[in-house]
Subunit: 210 residues, 2 copies
Amino acid sequence: MGKNAVSMAVVRRLPRYYRYLGELLNNDVARVSSKDLSEKMGLTASQIRQDFNCFGGFGQQGYGYNVELLHNEIGNILGLNEVKNCILVGAGNLGRALGNHINFKRRGFKLVGIFDVSENIVGKSIGGIVVQHVDEMEHLLQDVKVEMAILTAPKEETIDIVDRLIACGVHGFWNFSNMDIQREGVYFENVHLGDSLMTLCYSMSNDHHD
Amino acid sequence: MGKNAVSMAVVRRLPRYYRYLGELLNNDVARVSSKDLSEKMGLTASQIRQDFNCFGGFGQQGYGYNVELLHNEIGNILGLNEVKNCILVGAGNLGRALGNHINFKRRGFKLVGIFDVSENIVGKSIGGIVVQHVDEMEHLLQDVKVEMAILTAPKEETIDIVDRLIACGVHGFWNFSNMDIQREGVYFENVHLGDSLMTLCYSMSNDHHD
DNA sequence: TAGATTGTTAATCGATTAACAATC
DNA sequence: TAGATTGTTAATCGATTAACAATC
């Protein structure tokens, strides 16, 4: 295990490598050089080799990389094979969309519960899972080991929910609440769709193409 | 106008500043120092001052920054005031969620059309807008100036849609198709929710908290 | 005025790129 | 073997942090 932590810049490129390698695999491409990949992805070959070598040497001089092997290795590094249970908290528009739209299995997770407060939604089924009331959360978490929660509830309720879930052993959060959250010993992936949209707005408004 | 392009690292922090300043404004805080803000946001005061000074001096020695003024300035820099028309292409789960969930007005956009191919969805209304068939796209774009498109259609259809829209003058794309797209003279904000989820998976699987 | 805090220059740190010996 | 391409070290580039004079 590479003990000396890999920089986040590198880690954030791994899923992208994984995607491109998956595509090559689908097209029955057996081998790829860092140069091929660099042209496809718009990176330098040097960076690609540096990135891979953070985790060990997966290539072979004079040959390049075996696509299937490299794809598997990166999948393992990302932890996609140790499937972790997760729940979805907040079954509004966005929550329902994520529940239906995201392929959790292929990203290392399994959705095992959905929770909301609204009586209109509780009892309904989303992607084959019946929505329960948020008050039932602790019941489920007693019986089933849940490691991650997707936060799509309104801002105001989210902090309370987070603390309850951490108390139950949840140690990862995919947070769509439009709020930066941090907690000791727990991982947050804060997604800010609004920020992303404003960044696009900036680029379009301050148009200086190179 | 700051002609010498500001680095993307800085630009991506602007929406976050905007959010925090908006919060301070809501709490009737009139002034803030770079030190206050740095503690709130988990950045260094030095970085904050450097960032702001990419766009000019908004502060006052010995006093700090006027919250309302700074908030407005950053909004202007982001271009949130020149509201640009946009359309949504693909009214599946994710498209519907974005149409209903995102506050476009506050992010510099106005949603003026929604398109899909499915006969089950065409004719239905989302957030007050009637979904039209994708074949009607060019009709709307002839009458109304549309600058940005949100791409939530399936991968396979997306490339074709992009080329049609560019031909009609669309020059910004908020792309959820799970595919990196680039085109000369046009801006793409590629959102990869799957990559974000895999990054979280990595952190949880390779747990080495500091 | 004295204290506070900016704007800005210089120093440091980290990430990317280039180069090349090792080797398949 | 000769050619290709890696793994890795060294050089460069850019972004962050520190320091401090300017000034409100």
